[in-house]
Amino acid sequence: MSEVDGSAPEPAAVPGVATVHGTGVRREALYFALRNRKLVGGLAVVVAFLLAAIVGPWFVTEDPLTYVGPPAAGPSGSYWLGTTTFGQDVWAQFLYGLRATFFVGSVAALIAGVIGMVVGFTAGYRGGLVDEVLNMITNVVLVLPVLAVLMIIAAYLEVRSIEVQAVIIGLFSWPWVARAVRAQTLSLRSREFVDLARLSGLPVRRIIFREIAPNMASYLFMVFILLFGGSVLFAATLDFIGLGPTDGISLGLMLNHAKQWSAMNLGLWWWFIPPGLGITVIVGSLYIMNVGLDEVFNPKLREM
C-alpha cells in the first residue's frame, strides 16, 4: 500500500489486495505458496467444488427441474439433499447451480478484469488528458451503486440468460480494478526497468505487455479472485430478487424458488440451506486463498 499512499490519498481500499514487491520472487513464492495453509486449504475447497460443478451433473438427472421424487421429502439415501415441494432433486439442482455459479463468476470476473486492466494501464501509462478522461469515467462508474444499476438493467431485459447476466455484472464491476491497476502502473512506470525499455525504443504496447504486465501478474490474479467472489454474490442477489436467468437453475435461483414456495414456513430447510452454504463456502475459500496469496507475495505479512 505504501506506493499508493504516496501518490494519492485513495489507496485501493479493497480488503486483502496488496501490492507485489519487486521482481524475482516467483520461485520463492512457489516455495511459500505450498507451505501456506490458507492458500492450500482455500484452493483445495475451491477445486473440490469446481470438480463437483464440472463432473457432478453427469451423475444426476439430465434436467434438474424435472419432478423425480416424492414431494417435499427430507434428505435420504436416494435424495441426498431431499426434494423440493414438486419433488425435484435438490442435490441435482445444487450441482447444476454450482456450474452456473462458476460460469457467472469467471466470465464476469474476466470481463471486469480485462476492462479494468485496459482502462487502468492506459490511464496510468499514458497520463495526461487520457488519464484525466479515463479516471473521470472510472470515478463515475465507481460511485454508481452497482446492484441498483444491475437491477434496473435486468428488470428491463425481456429474456434473461445466464450469459447476459455475467456480461452485465462484468460491465459494471471493473472501476476499482482500473483504479488499483492505474496506481500500480504509475508506480511501476517510474521504475528503472521500464525506463530502460523505453530508452531502447520499444513500442508502448510491448512495454506494457512485456515489462509491466508480468510484474503485476500475481496482483492481477488476486484481483481476479476478488472479482469472481463479488460477481458470484451479485449474481446470487439478482437471482434471489427474481431478476436472474429466466430459464435453468443457479444457486441464487434455488434460494429464490425456496422463498417463493414458502420453504421456510413449510420447514423445508434442506431446500434453502445448501445453495447459500455453497456460495458462502466458495466465496469464503476464495477470500481466504487471497489472504494466503497476499502473504506469499508479500513477505512482511507472513506469519512469524
Binding site: P9, G252, I273, G284
Partner: protein, 330 residues
C-alpha cells in the same frame, strides 16, 4: 482543498446525469408498454373505451410529446421532486410511496453501516497480530463477509424467528397495531427491526474487521512502526498510530462499500418482508412498475452520492495531511 471538493462535486454531478439518463433511456428501449398495461387492467371491451383510456394514460404518463421533450420533462419533474405516477399503487405519486418507505430502510441501514464499521474496526484492530485470536476469528469473519446477505437473513429468520420464536418475522410492525408513539408500538417496531438489522450488521462487520486487521498488519510492518518500536515506544502506542493510519483507507472503503450494503438491505428487506425500499423494489419488479423502479433507483443513487460526499468531508477532516494544510489531489 477547494479544488479537491470541486473535483469531487463534478464527478458526482456527472454520475448523477449518467444515472438519470440511463434511467430515462432504458424503459424506452425495452418492451412492455405501461399504457397498454393500464388499459388492459381496466378490462374494457369497446374499442372506443380502449382508445379513450389509452389517450388518458398516454397524457398522464407524458408520452404525448416528442422524445427530446420527454427527456427535458423528466429532468424538470425530477428537480421538482415529481417522479411520476406509480402503476403498482395507481394513482399515487412515486415520490410519496418512496418517502413512506425510506424511514424503514434508513432505520436499518444507518445503524447497520455505522455500527458494523465501528465494531469491525475495533475488533479487527484488536485481533491483528494476536496469533491465537487471529486464527480463530479470521475464518469466521471470512465466512461472514462471503455470506450472501439474503442467505444469512433467511437463516436468522428461520432459526431465531421461526424455530426459536424469539423474534417476529414479517412486516415492519404487527398488523394489529396502529402506528403511534406508544411503548407498545415502539417495542413492536424494534422487535421487527432487530433481525434484519442483525443480518446486515453481521455481514458488513466481517468485511470491516478483515479490512482493519489486514491494514493494521501493514501498518505495523511499516518503517515508522519499526522505528517507533526501536525507539522503545510501548507497543500500545505503536498500535494506536497504526490504527489511526489504517482508519483512512477504511473511510474510503466505506464509500466503496455503500452500494453493496444498500443492495444487501434490499434483499434483507425482501426476506423479512420489511416494508422499506427493498420491498418496493420487489413490488415494482413484480408489477412491472417502471416508474416506481426508476424512482427507487434514482433515490438510491442520490443517497449514495450524498453519503459519498459526507464521507469525503469526513475524510478531509480525519486526514492529518489535509488537516495540516498540505492539501491532496484526488
Amino acid at each position: 482543498m477547494g479544488r479537491y471538493f470541486s473535483r469531487k462535486l463534478l464527478i458526482y454531478a456527472l454520475t448523477f446525469v449518467v444515472a438519470v439518463t440511463i434511467n430515462w433511456l432504458i424503459p424506452r428501449f425495452m418492451p412492455g408498454d405501461p399504457v397498454s398495461a393500464m388499459v388492459a387492467r381496466a378490462g374494457l371491451q369497446s374499442p372506443e373505451g380502449v382508445a379513450a383510456m389509452r389517450e388518458y394514460y398516454t397524457g398522464l404518463f407524458g408520452f404525448d410529446v416528442p422524445v427530446w421533450q420527454q427527456y427535458l420533462n423528466f429532468w424538470g419533474g425530477l428537480l421538482s421532486g415529481d417522479l411520476g405516477v406509480s402503476l403498482w399503487a395507481f394513482p399515487q405519486p412515486v415520490t410519496s410511496i418512496i418517502m413512506a418507505a425510506v424511514p424503514y430502510t434508513l432505520g436499518l441501514l444507518i445503524p447497520a453501516i455505522l455500527l458494523s464499521w465501528w465494531a469491525g474496526n475495533k475488533f479487527g484492530a484488536y485481533a491483528a497480530r494476536k496469533k491465537v485470536l487471529d486464527n480463530t476469528v479470521l475464518p469466521i469473519w471470512y465466512v461472514l463477509t462471503a455470506t450472501p446477505y439474503m442467505w444469512l437473513a433467511i437463516l436468522l429468520a428461520w432459526a431465531l424467528g421461526k424455530v426459536a420464536g424469539l423474534f417476529p418475522v414479517g412486516r415492519s410492525f404487527s398488523a394489529s397495531l396502529r402506528p403511534d408513539w406508544s411503548w407498545l408500538f415502539i417495542s413492536d417496531l424494534i422487535s421487527h427491526w432487530f433481525l434484519p438489522f442483525l443480518s446486515l450488521f453481521l455481514v458488513a462487520f466481517g468485511g470491516w474487521a478483515i479490512g482493519m486487521r489486514n491494514l493494521i498488519i501493514y501498518e505495523l510492518e511499516a518503517d515508522y512502526s519499526h522505528y517507533l518500536g526501536s525507539l522503545g515506544a510501548p507497543s500500545r502506542l505503536v498500535r494506536r498510530y497504526a490504527f489511526r493510519n489504517a482508519l483512512l483507507p477504511q473511510v474510503t472503503g466505506l464509500a466503496l462499500q455503500l452500494g453493496v450494503i444498500v443492495g444487501g438491505a434490499v434483499v434483507t428487506e425482501i426476506v423479512f418482508d420489511y416494508r422499506g425500499l427493498g420491498y418496493l423494489v420487489l413490488e415494482a419488479i413484480k408489477a412491472s412498475d417502471f416508474f416506481l423502479l426508476q424512482g427507487i433507483f434514482l433515490f438510491i443513487v442520490i443517497g449514495v452520492l450524498v453519503a459519498n460526499f459526507i464521507i469525503d468531508i469526513v475524510y478531509v477532516l480525519v486526514d492529518p495531511r489535509t488537516r495540516a494544510g498540505m492539501g491532496g489531489g484526488a
